[in-house]
Subunit: 295 residues, 2 copies
């Protein structure tokens, strides 16, 4: 077996992503020599112990990070500033600090100012997930064949970046590196806007007159079903994602709204060619995904 | 084996839906004693013959419907008026005329004025489909466990309605009856609006700067992937659906837009509670679907 990437790795937050990292780390043994899991959620630490997801289970983050050479924040991104204020004094020089948040500009904003001298920040975002949440929802193969995007700040320590990259490679992921701003724009359209739309259309349906709403539930064809699958996602996580990728998300929403209104206008005025063009572009994008094996 | 529902049944249009009806009819034998397939598309009739989907294959609708006691239009809804002008003089009194179009107000509008004396119109809409199209895309179990909505006009012949209902029951579907206006509102939100949104978001992505677009294709997370699956649908069919359910679709688009802007506004102003409420409503709708086994 290869040398473990970290001697003592602490996962803060054992939800879907955190518990999946724990599972793959336990299964492989070469991600961390000692795995520490920390979660302050009611009953989560007990459940993590029951599931035997880590060598050490803590409810106090300041204790949990003590003596670790790797720490990964796996809580909703809105908590990062608060968590960092607690743990920063307890991070040893040389520690690599990472996270799995879906927004990356906010991570630099919230963590960099609090970063102790000699601690290396390497933000990461595994592009994987399901609509389920909590420590029972995780599984070891969640990251297999999926991308993890790293957004190291300028001047980041190459050895620290390589450690986080190697952790993700061992978890089965493919690595991409880009700056935080590009990351936030890309995820705004591939993930955050679709979620905003999915939540919205469910609300729109929910507001319909009682009788129509009953029929909607009854006849949810594949279109609506796919939308609601996305809409079943975790409340705290998505609230934080929206609030922490505000600028990029609102820009994409504005672009999308313009385009939706243009298509609506074409429907109103019977502009068949415009409508066909939009449908064709949808098919083209779809085929692009299939060629890239992302479909 | 039960007595076939129809003695001689003609399917006009052998795309995904038409060829699926043909397959289940051939497989069971109790839907039509003789099955006639008619398609004017280049090469479609030849392919239908090759696939042995019918007893008789025609390219001329006027000949195809001759002597039939059942005719089902399975072409895009925008063609119905034109097709009806051709076939109306060739429909024998007592014939049951139906269709599988996704919009029902337009079917009454286009077919009722041309309906010959003694021919019974029973519009239908099987709530089933995939993103694929053409005679090769169909399969016999497509309608299994799915709803077919019938929208007979006022004063429709009960025996004719029962024949179409029985055809769909034998194809595996569950039957619901409602008026055309209610149907059009329900499908506008469960199916047509989701498709309009999916086509739109693909266009929005396609308009992004080259570099971002490349990244979008690369990192299409589950959210975007699910949207593009819908967006791969047939161009002619969806153009016609949009144009023929204009009023209901535009109403639902307007409601959705208001709701999307309200959520966007909450993101801009950091209104966490409003955002959480929207996410929770999405989850509630989702759970409603799961309880109804529509998820």
């Amino acid at each position: 077996m290869a040398e473990p990437v970290f001697n003592r790795l602490c996962l803060v937050g054992l939800g879907l992503i955190g518990s999946s990292i724990a599972r793959v780390a336990r299964e492989r043994g070469d991600i961390a020599r000692t795995l520490v899991a920390c979660d302050t959620g009611v009953g989560v630490a007990a459940r993590v112990k029951q599931l035997d997801l880590a060598d050490v289970v803590e409810v106090e983050a300041t204790r949990a990070v003590e003596g670790c050479d790797g720490v990964i924040l796996c809580t909703p991104v809105g908590t990062f500033g608060r968590v960092m204020q607690h743990i920063a004094p307890h991070l040893a020089p040389g520690t690599v600090l990472s996270d799995v948040g879906s927004t990356k500009g906010s991570v630099l904003r919230d963590l960099l100012p609090l970063l102790p001298e000699g601690v290396h920040l390497v933000p990461g975002h595994p592009m994987a997930g399901t609509e389920h949440s909590g420590p029972d929802a995780g599984f070891a193969s969640l990251f297999q064949g999926r991308y993890t995007i790293l957004t190291p700040p300028e001047g980041a320590d190459p050895a620290a970046v390589e450690k986080i990259a190697e952790l993700w490679r061992r978890a089965g992921a493919m690595i991409e590196t880009m700056d935080a701003a590009t990351h936030d724009k890309v995820v705004a359209i591939v993930s955050h806007l679709p979620h905003l739309i999915a939540f919205t259309i469910c609300s729109t349906a929910d507001d319909l007159a009682q009788e129509t709403r009953e029929q909607v539930l009854k006849f949810a064809a594949s279109g609506f079903r796919d939308f609601t699958r996305i809409a079943a996602s975790d409340v705290d996580m998505w609230r934080d994602v929206f609030l922490n990728n505000r600028e990029a998300l609102l820009e994409m929403l504005a672009r999308f709204s313009e385009d939706a209104h243009a298509l609506g206008r074409a429907v109103r005025w019977g502009e068949a060619e415009f409508i066909e063009d939009r449908i064709r572009r949808g098919r083209k994008i779809r085929h692009g995904l299939i060629e890239r094996k992302q479909a």
